[in-house]
């Protein structure tokens, strides 16, 4: 499973020479419950370099948040079974003691959460929360930390940071809260930022600003970013590499442009077909993926996507029902991995999927590179 990490072809950027900052290898996360074992994440592997952005896409419950929380050791050890390996800057996280984890948290790896209103403490001022985050990892006086907090708020675009530093979260608008959250995450110059649906709770207009901000800051601090989302638009805008998750497993993985233009897994096709397009004819129908995400208590046999897959007839025999496909390169080169039995996905996509999606669907827009990052990692 870890094979593809080493077989990865030379990256198109100079960063390929460095070792990846985060290496997740064969991670599985399981929660024992009264009803049985919930297999939240199974056999997940990925790596992120500094300065690069990995996008993780999937439905709710596909294991995208669970896997990233494991990077910071945020799961309760008593109720969670973790297997595999997560190395942050060479430091193994799984099984690490509380002190080791605490040194990583906030300093090496910081998180930005989905809803900044609930993710910020309602009773502490914004400044106090940022100051706390800074002073945990830096032995500085309160006034120095306060200066730093104001500087960070200013950096993320909070107007009148000097006076607003003493405001409480409820006095900030949604976008400003998320900016403050980002300021708090970046106050220790973390080498990896995990943004868990950072824009889902925000207005679309604010969403673009926040994404821009994240990209600016990434350039400035050369940090690695993992952006977790279910929004392919965000992926197209932000990510250098995409990991599509389904039922706790990686089902497709590749460079963003490659994956969005030549998706090889029916689930990814479904994701692309269900993106609405603002410019489309209103009579044009979105094509949702039929059915519901599978139970992680009793995942389906074989390919976990087979109960919802409309293309399983293209696979000979009952392979889809009996055998879990391996995550391996298809015909598009060693960097594009997929977990599917269909042998000629390109042809199926061209013939069966694309025409149904319609000429000017959003999937099309994304594919045509509305805002697909260039190969050098910068946008457009």
């Amino acid at each position: 499973m870890s094979g593809f990490l080493t077989t990865e072809a030379p990256q198109p950027t100079s960063r390929a020479h460095e070792a990846p900052f985060l290496v997740v290898d064969s991670l599985s996360v399981r929660f024992p419950t009264h009803d049985g074992l919930v297999k939240a994440v199974s056999d997940l592997s990925y790596a992120v370099h500094r300065g690069e952005t990995l996008g993780i896409v999937g439905e709710s419950g596909s294991g995208k948040s669970v896997s990233s929380m494991a990077v910071l050791g945020l799961h309760d050890a008593k109720t969670t079974r973790l297997e595999g390996s997560i190395k942050v800057g060479g430091q193994e996280v799984i099984g690490a003691d509380e002190d080791t984890l605490r040194r990583l948290r906030g300093r090496e790896v910081a998180m930005v959460f989905q809803d900044p209103l609930t993710a910020l403490h309602p009773f502490y001022s914004i400044g106090r929360q940022i100051i706390e985050a800074y002073r945990i990892h830096h032995d500085v006086s309160k006034s120095e930390a306060r200066k730093r907090a104001i500087e960070m708020l200013d950096r993320v675009g909070i107007p009148q940071a000097r006076s607003r530093v003493d405001d409480f979260p409820h006095q900030f608008s949604g976008g400003m809260r998320q900016r403050a959250m980002i300021a708090m995450s970046l106050v220790n110059d973390p080498k990896l930022l995990i943004a868990d649906e950072p824009t889902t709770a925000l207005d679309v207009t604010v969403q673009a600003q926040i994404l821009d901000l994240l990209q600016d800051l990434q350039r400035e601090f050369n940090s690695a970013i993992i952006i977790i989302t279910h929004d392919l638009g965000v992926i197209a805008e932000m990510a250098d590499e995409v990991l599509v998750m389904y039922a706790g497993r990686a089902v497709e993985k590749g460079r963003t442009k490659e994956l969005l233009t030549h998706p090889e897994m029916p689930y990814t096709w479904g994701l692309l077909s269900s993106v609405p397009d603002v410019a489309a004819d209103t009579s044009e129908k979105l094509i949702p993926i039929p059915g519901n995400p599978p139970s992680l208590l009793n995942p389906p046999s074989g390919c976990p996507f087979h109960p919802r897959c409309q293309h399983k007839d293209k696979v000979p025999g009952d392979l889809c029902y009996t055998t879990l496909p391996a995550l391996e390169p298809g015909r598009r080169g060693p960097n594009h991995l997929k977990r599917c039995h269909i042998s000629n996905p390109d042809a199926v996509y061209e013939v069966d999927v694309l025409p149904e999606m319609g000429e000017d669907s959003a999937g099309h827009a994304i594919r045509e590179g509305m805002a697909v990052p260039d190969m050098d990692g910068t946008t457009r």
Binding site: L74, R105, G106, M111, F113, H121, Y124
Partner: protein, 331 residues
Amino acid sequence: MAGFLVRRLIAAALVVIVTSMFVFALFFLGPSNPAQPLCDLNGRCTPEKLALLTEQMGLNESVVKQYGVWAKGLVQDREISFGPVYHCDAPCLGISYSSRGEVTSELAEKFPATLSLAVGGATIYLVLGVFLGTMAARFRGTPTDRGLVTVSLLVSAIPYYVVALLAWIFLSQEWGIFPDTSYHPLTEGVGSWAYGLLLPWMVIGFAGSTAYARYSRGQMVETLGEDYIRTATAKGVKSRNVIFKHALRAAIVPVITLFGLDFAFLLAGTVFTEQIFDIDGIGRWGIRALRAPVDFPVVAATVLVGSCIIVVANLVVDVLYSFIDPRVRVS
């Protein structure tokens, strides 16, 4: 903030005034004639004697006038006649039928005992209860948690007076660990004050802490599931600080509300505790006044004082709330 305070104070004052009207109505306009107990006091109560007393006490006047006289006594000295005439200094809540002393000065005498009892007991149950609840929440699902919850349920299933009586019988009488449980004013020395109240404090604290343990456990469990707790952990905050700073800060708010009211009830008279441990406070005073012949002015005073305390406690909780929760703070 000042405007908020003024508004709340005015509202509280209005509530107190209305309450005083109710109390007055309850005791002086109720079905029983307030002159009746006095009439029964010395010899047989003849209709003539009762009529004379009613006349002397001004009970023939209109309701409004009677309330006016009574209310005026709160700010001005007044003469009270049951036959013999007593002078009552302002604030006057009447003259006790049994002791013939001023109700207000008796109240001032009994109140410190109840206050001492309530402050000590409440402090113990708040601190102990919140601490135990927090620990139970922290170790949720473990034997520690289950043990704490079970013991707290068992203890709270025992009626309070049984706990108090058992404590008095064994700890005070049988084993003599606390031979002297009674109230000594603070002016006589902190040692004897604290020593005399230690057992009642522990009884109130122990019995009360069970409810607080379960309540704060619930609040804490809920708070620990909040996103901002995860944020704190993700920032690298020590787990001890996550629990006792970030989580407790939020979980304590509803506990404080409950505490404000509980404390007010304690202050209004801890009847059982005072009775069992021989503490001469408001609760015992009120109970004694209820024995026939009913000491109307004393009973009325205890009810009035009790309701005032509850009004004040509500006010204090509200003001405290705005300090604890910035979202309530009025700009």
